[in-house]
């Protein structure tokens, strides 16, 4: 087996997993009390002809099996149904907010990885030094911190007491869509998300680095007379990055969870907030679409990291 067939196999498995997860979501939504029909038809004054019309327009008059098939096909083909709450296509409702969440998530992912790796490397260069101890303690500190509390404290200090930064939302009318305005709104939620997730990365990198530094080939390389710095960065880094890459895959799931809480505290109009709102509104098409997106993101990033891992680690062979 080579790389190509490995990749193909993994992709097939990934798709199967997506279908499985989507099925579970469907089952939860349709078979618990308070399911879609109850939500749509709460107004008892709805007359029978209107009832039939409403159910038909949502495809709820078909047998459950047909609905399931349409749902699975629809999820993959982008036909996500109509939001019960907004009477607009669920796709449209989500598309309006996706950009906002990406705006928050992508920079925080990048920043977390970069700063986390840097901190990890710097700690590993001098293990148990003051710097290392400080960083490790800080990592512990932020790992245990509830994201919404941290966000709240930052809000209190910077928005309420110091009035330096806005108290939430994404833009102001006065700012009029300018970059500085956006950045000032982005600052606090970004900092919150990064701080909370930084712990994992720096600790992980540090541990992997320390492990690697003990291994034989590093000693050999030293013996060959290569400069300290060169050894460090080229050999050690490359091998220590492997677990980091794996972590990034898991991280996407982590970020999604963080998104809901951070967006809540900072009034950031993204997918996390939409998830929470649509759960409260029992807006099932939107809920199911969002869950689909989330699982695809998680599975896809796991898949990507598996493949990249295989690429990077010469010890892995496919077969």
């Amino acid at each position: 087996m080579g790389l190509a067939s490995y990749v193909v196999k993994r992709i097939v498995v990934a798709i199967a997993l997506v279908v499985l997860v989507a099925t579970i979501n469907f089952v939860i939504v349709h078979l618990t009390p308070g399911g879609p029909t109850t939500v749509l038809l709460t107004n008892p004054r709805i007359t029978p002809p209107q009832r039939a019309q409403i159910l038909a327009s949502y495809g709820l008059d078909k047998p459950l099996y047909t609905q399931y098939v349409l749902y699975i096909v629809g999820m993959f083909s982008g036909n996500w149904g109509v939001s019960y709450f907004y009477l607009e296509p669920a796709y449209y409702v989500i598309a309006q907010r996706v950009g906002n969440t990406l705006l928050l998530m992508v920079p925080s992912l990048i920043l977390t990885i970069i700063v986390g790796i840097l901190l990890g490397i710097m700690s590993a260069r001098k293990p148990f030094s003051h710097f290392d101890r400080f960083v490790s303690s800080a990592a512990f500190f932020f790992y245990a911190m509830p994201a919404f509390w941290l966000g709240f404290c930052l809000l209190t200090v910077f928005a309420l007491d110091l009035r330096m930064l806005p108290a939430g939302g994404m833009t102001s009318i006065a700012g009029g869509g300018s970059i500085t305005d956006l950045l000032s709104h982005l600052a606090l939620p970004l900092v919150t998300l990064v701080l909370v997730n930084l712990a994992n990365f720096s600790l992980l990198t540090r541990t992997s680095m320390i492990d690697v530094l003990d291994q034989n080939y590093i000693t050999t390389a030293r013996g060959k007379g290569l400069s300290d710095r060169l050894i460090f960065y080229r050999h050690a880094l490359r091998n220590a990055l492997l677990p980091t890459v794996t972590m990034t895959g898991l991280f996407v799931g982590f970020l999604l969870t963080g998104a809901i809480l951070t967006e809540s505290v900072f009034s950031w109009p993204g997918l996390g907030l939409l998830t929470f709102q649509s759960i409260l509104n029992r807006d099932y098409p939107v809920i199911l679409s969002l869950f689909f997106i989330f699982s695809v993101m998680i599975i896809a990033s796991n898949l990507a990291t598996d493949i990249i891992y295989g690429f990077l680690d010469p010890r892995v062979s496919f077969g």
Binding site: A144, F148, W149, G253, T257, L261, F276
Partner: protein, 293 residues
């Protein structure tokens, strides 16, 4: 790793100062929560309208809340909810995870595949949204929350146990037992399980911070019943934030934070003491991964 006795264990454990602090904090909190009725008033719910929203002072170290209740008292009583959910979910996920890991690792083959695929599915479910959805559908109740959190956290434990069982299943003493015709149950529970205990302890305590944070998040978002729980206090604190009552949001949040930190420190301490260095290196990656969700 064996210890001559509990004293030996405590000495080794206490070498990690952080872990010691965590343990002392937890014991202190447990005792305070248990005996809250004796230390403070019996019914923390009594409103005292003459002393609402007082900032922290000598009389009220954490200030008073919107009903005039002593916030310190509320937080100690609130520890009951959090510790119950923490231990309850922790025990539950340890149980489910251990049993599935044991079974998967020992029997291998189809059974293993099935259990691990199920675990994979649970791992790829977006946990918080799913928890919120089920909490909203099933109605607010602490038992529901406990169950949901445990159900989404067991896969990691199962994986750890399974890989350990796999490593051990081929060792001599197991093979000997098999040849001698010992029953599966005996092998599983009398031989394999005891050797997992250290691992189970470490990873359970590692998972508990996440349990605490998730439970607080659910209460904060308003999907849990009214109670004196830290997350619910945070929820109400929002309404009084603009009036400057910072203590109402700071202290409950701080309680959540310090309790989850305590468990984390304890798990680090246990890890150092219970797992031998060699194994620790090989599993360093797994350890890190296990704690992150």
């Amino acid at each position: 790793m064996q210890f001559a006795g509990a004293r030996d264990f405590l000495v080794a454990y206490s070498r990690n100062k952080g872990a010691l602090v965590g343990l002392l904090y937890l014991i202190g909190l447990l005792l305070a929560a248990l005996f809250a009725g004796y230390i403070f008033s019996v019914n923390p719910n009594t409103p005292y309208l003459s002393r609402t929203l007082l900032p922290p002072s000598l009389a009220y170290p954490f200030g008073t809340d919107y009903l005039g209740r002593d916030l310190l008292e509320l937080i100690i009583y609130g520890a009951r909810t959090s510790l119950t959910v923490a231990f309850g979910a922790g025990v539950l996920l340890a149980l489910i995870g251990t049993v599935s890991g044991l079974v998967a690792g020992y029997f291998g083959g189809e059974v293993d595949g099935f259990i691990m695929r199920t675990a994979d599915i649970f791992l790829t479910l977006p946990t918080l949204p799913l928890i919120l959805l089920v909490a909203a559908l099933a109605g607010p109740s602490l038992v529901n929350i406990l169950l949901i959190i445990a159900l989404t956290s067991w896969p990691v434990m199962a994986r750890i146990v399974r890989s350990n069982v796999l490593a051990m299943a081929n060792q001599e003493f197991i093979l000997v037992e098999r040849v001698m015709g010992a029953s599966v149950k005996r092998i599983l529970f009398d031989h394999l399980l005891p050797n997992q205990m250290s691992l189970i302890l470490v990873y359970t305590s590692l998972s508990i911070p996440i349990v605490i944070l998730t439970e607080a998040a659910i209460e904060f978002l308003g999907l849990a019943p009214i109670s004196i729980s830290w997350g619910f206090l945070l929820n109400i604190a929002l309404s009084y934030w603009i009036q400057g009552a910072w203590w109402m949001s700071f202290f409950p949040g701080f309680a959540i934070f310090s309790t989850s930190l305590a468990f984390y420190l304890i798990s680090e301490g246990l890890k150092e003491v219970l797992t031998p260095k060699l194994k620790r290196k090989r599993e360093s990656l797994a350890v890190q991964l296990a704690g992150k969700k």
